[in-house]
């Protein structure tokens, strides 16, 4: 390290209010920020990484006690700075970009005004010049049609555009330090790649020190010069990015790195001569919204002539970005929504033409695992009931159903005592296991997993994926696996279908898709996956 640090955090100790799950949010953390360098602070949820960012911005909640340590900036300790000092510092010298660009922008103010506010806060420029400058900044961050965007309200921009506007705002006063708190987590992978590129580019041009907070090692390897790994509020490892990623010293870092799925699909035995478990023929669904007397109709084509099949014992992946229609297709296959056209066949039976009691009976053949482990279990029912309700509805006696539920809990790696407990007593990963047990309770032939591991931390994600893979093989299930994460898809799918705007643009065996993508969109998606240099480096 040749350059002198602009920010130097030493032995930072932040106490959580009493009654929290641990005494300190951040416990003895030290690191430096250097001009022209990006420092990535990595950790899973609850590791205290966001607290570090908020401490540096002076935005800690009042309930957090600054117990010890110092944040050195420009010869002063920021922890002892008064309100007036913070007002002068924030935005002007240290600026911040937040995770959710939708909620981080005021919905009632035009983008240009929100940027101009930055100058106003520090009494710079005349009002007209502020507008001019806002426009110039929007141009610099590459917002399309900056003249229009400057007058737009946040809801009129896309997620990526909003994040660009946020970055323009943060850079307005040419701060020396930029704090970015998971700035790409809420974005699609192709947008994420563009935003990462933008941050790196601007940081180099302006020689800023960047503190970049993320949970994603792929992003780290793409952008970091230095890495700090946090676990439970403590630094377990820090050093140059190359060292940490390639030669991790601490077991936790190693475990985290190992849990990141590789872009290399593992070899899979070909599934020849199998019968079709699911056949989807010409599925069409268009959502129409608005459309009253005086209102224009809005049409969104969620499924456009979707055709695919799943062989017995096969896992077919459905990948795409948000709004590509992949979740709609999952729900159409499940008959949670009705198609405008098309057929879904389960084995020999037509699943789309039945209704009422017959449909309810057939439903046991195809079951679903949901995305959000916190929303997919009824908070007012005991876990035992949640699992046993389905079989009871299909005529199993309660005693048998509960006995079977206990066995299923064992199968997904939970204790039988879980039967009598409520969902809120479990962690995200455990809840997802309960969701799997519920899906298996009806002894289905097909499982539809809708972003089933997306809400989980990487280490938990790996465990749940392994469980799914194992159960699928043991019970001979077929699976439709919906995900936005190509790395996950590479690991678990036999074949992958890529969706864009409601249509499947490419459907191929996994290995072939990764090695020889044909459709331009597939190529774009594959290229955008972060951390590809490192996975080859780490291998």
């Amino acid at each position: 390290m040749s350059a002198t640090p602009v920010v130097s955090i030493k032995n930072l100790k932040l106490a959580l209010p009493s009654g929290s799950d641990r005494p300190h949010a951040v416990d003895g953390v030290s690191f430096d920020l250097v001009p022209g360098k990006i420092l990535c602070v990595v950790g899973e949820s609850g590791s205290g990484k966001s607290m570090c960012a908020h401490a540096l911005m002076g935005l800690l909640p009042d309930t957090i006690i600054r117990e010890a340590g110092e944040i050195g900036y420009d010869g002063q300790n920021l922890l002892t700075l008064d309100d007036a000092g913070w007002l002068a510092l924030r935005g002007r010298h240290i600026a911040m970009v937040f995770q959710e660009p939708m909620t981080a922008l005021n919905p009632l103010m035009r983008i240009g005004d929100q940027i101009a506010e930055m100058f106003e806060a520090h009494n710079l420029l005349a009002p007209r010049q502020r507008k001019q400058k806002a426009l110039q900044l929007l141009r610099e961050v590459g917002l399309p049609e900056p003249e229009r965007s400057v007058r737009a309200y946040p809801h009129q921009l896309s997620g990526g555009q909003r994040q660009r506007a946020m970055i323009a705002m943060a850079l307005a006063l040419e701060p020396t330090v930029l704090v970015a708190d998971e700035p790409t987590t809420a974005l699609d992978v192709t947008t994420q790649a563009q935003i990462l590129e933008l941050i790196r580019d601007l940081q180099r041009r302006r020689n800023m020190a960047v503190m970049f907070i993320t949970h994603d090692f792929g992003v780290v390897s793409d952008i970091a010069d230095r890495v700090v790994v946090l676990q439970h509020g403590k630094v377990v490892e820090q050093g140059p990015a190359d060292d940490v990623l390639r030669r991790p010293q601490h077991t936790y870092t190693r475990a985290l790195l190992a849990a990141v799925p590789s872009m290399q699909p593992p070899p899979r035995a070909p599934l020849a001569d199998r019968a079709k478990a699911v056949e989807v023929i010409g599925l069409d669904k268009t959502y129409v919204s608005g459309g009253g007397w005086f209102q224009a109709e809005r049409r969104v084509r969620a499924a456009n002539e979707v055709n695919f099949d799943i062989l017995q014992g096969e896992t077919v992946g459905l990948v795409g970005e948000s709004g590509s229609g992949k979740s709609s297709v999952a729900r159409l296959v499940m008959r949670l929504i009705e198609p405008d056209q098309g057929t879904v066949r389960l084995g020999d039976a037509d699943f789309t033409r039945i209704a009422g009691r017959a449909l309810r009976k057939e439903r046991s053949r195809i079951q679903m695992i949901f995305q959000d482990p916190f929303a997919s279990l009824n908070p007012r029912r005991k876990v035992g009931n949640i699992i046993a309700d389905g079989p009871i509805a299909h005529g199993t006696t309660p005693v048998v159903a509960h006995k079977r539920a206990t066995e299923l809990l064992g199968l997904v790696g939970l204790n039988a005592s879980a039967m009598e407990r409520y969902p809120h007593e479990f962690s995200g990963g455990q809840r997802q296991r309960i969701g799997i047990a519920r899906a298996l309770a009806l002894e289905p032939e097909i499982i539809v997993a809708d972003e089933a591991v997306s809400a989980l931390d990487v280490s938990v994600q790996a465990q749940v994926l392994n469980l799914l893979e194992d159960l699928k093989a043991r019970l001979g299930l077929s699976m439709l696996f919906i995900t936005h994460d190509l790395r996950v898809a590479a690991q678990i799918c036999d074949r992958i279908a890529v969706m864009q705007r409601g249509a499947i643009v490419e459907l191929k065996p996994t290995a072939a898709l990764f090695s020889a993508p044909e459709h331009p969109y597939t190529r774009e998606l594959l290229a955008a996956v972060p951390g590809q240099i490192s996975s080859s480096r780490a291998a």
């Binding site: 935005l59 919905p107 103010m109 506010e117 806060a121 520090h122 309200y153 809801h155 608005g290």
Partner: protein, 323 residues
């Protein structure tokens, strides 16, 4: 914007027609044979007169025809005839409507301004004695019956202290003109408008406080702080503006309550508006007048809803107009 107004107007007209039809059913439900009642109200009850009345008002026609005639009448602003007062209902109401509008609009403006002011103060100083005092006062006014507050206000400011007039719209027989008349009406307006506004002030203050505390926790407030903006600016520009949206919604929903408040307030203060007229109609069991006032009240509420809707659309850019 114009398309939106047209759409809402069309909707309001449909609702108004529904209310009129509903009103017609209510009239039919009123006790007694309408012709007999009318005859009674007119002070005569011989059989020939009743039959004449029946023919004159089409009461011998089948119900759909009667409904058609009734709706047609209302479209031409014919709300029927009050036999007790020997005047067309529409004329009676037209005479009284301005006083009611003056009272309700004044009360509404007072309550909205003060309610938002107190709510903002309470949220700004949440947890301090000022917040506690405002919250407790708001709770009490929120729970106080309007007619009783009005009486207590008369007792205190009019009977005990003799500060303000407690009766009527202007000083009877004084015949003030010009500015003196305005002052006189103003003095008469203070007590009714304030007592009527208290309940609504409490409602808006509670809503503003809760809404501001809610908005404060949004991410964009954190963004504003990260810009280095002063707290006063953040509160006004970012918190208050967003917090007022639900207050506008609430104000729209309460239009009906405002009209109900006018009936009670006007009764207590002998304010010569349509609320007082409704009370008089009640005392005399004058159903034609009663239901006429009811239709006009409903129309007022519809108009008020339309206005708050327009304000809401103007303030919140997220609701887009059809182009």
């Amino acid at each position: 914007m114009l398309a939106f107004i047209a759409q809402r107007l069309a909707k309001a007209v449909v609702v108004l027609l529904a209310i009129v039809a509903f009103n017609f059913t209510l009239i039919r439900m009123a006790p007694g044979d309408p012709a007999m009642v009318m005859a009674g109200e007119a002070g005569a009850s011989d059989q020939i007169f009743v039959t004449q009345l029946r023919e004159k008002f089409g009461l011998d026609q089948p119900l759909p025809v009667q409904l058609y005639r009734y709706v047609k009448g209302i479209v031409t602003l014919d709300l029927g005839f009050s036999f007790r007062q020997q005047m067309p209902v529409a004329k009676l109401i037209a005479e009284r409507l301005p006083a009611t509008l003056l009272l309700t609009v004044t009360a509404f403006v007072i309550s909205l301004l003060l309610g938002i002011l107190f709510g903002t103060l309470a949220a700004r100083f949440a947890g301090t004695w000022a917040d506690t005092a405002i919250t407790i006062l708001a709770l009490i006014f929120y729970a106080t019956p309007l007619f009783w507050v009005a009486l207590m206000a008369i007792l205190l400011f009019s009977v005990s202290m003799d500060w303000l007039p407690s009766f009527g719209y202007e000083t009877v027989g004084a015949n003030y003109t010009g500015f003196a008349h305005v002052l006189d009406v103003g003095a008469h307006l203070i007590l009714p408008a304030t007592t009527m506004g208290l309940f609504f002030m409490a409602t808006y203050a509670r809503m503003t406080r809760a809404s501001m505390l809610e908005v404060k926790r949004h991410d964009f407030v954190k963004t504003a702080r990260a810009k280095g903006l002063r707290d006063a600016v953040i509160q006004r520009r970012h918190v208050l503006r967003n917090a007022l949206l639900p207050v506008v919604t609430l104000a729209g929903l309460q239009a009906g309550t405002l009209v109900g408040g006018a009936v009670l307030t006007e009764t207590v203060f002998a304010w010569p508006g349509i609320g007082r007229l409704m009370y008089e109609a009640l005392l005399q069991r004058d159903y034609n007048l009663l239901l006429g006032v009811f239709v006009v009240c409903s129309a007022m509420v519809l108009a008020f809803n339309l206005i708050t809707d327009l304000i809401y659309r103007a303030v919140d850019p997220r609701i887009e107009f059809a182009s």
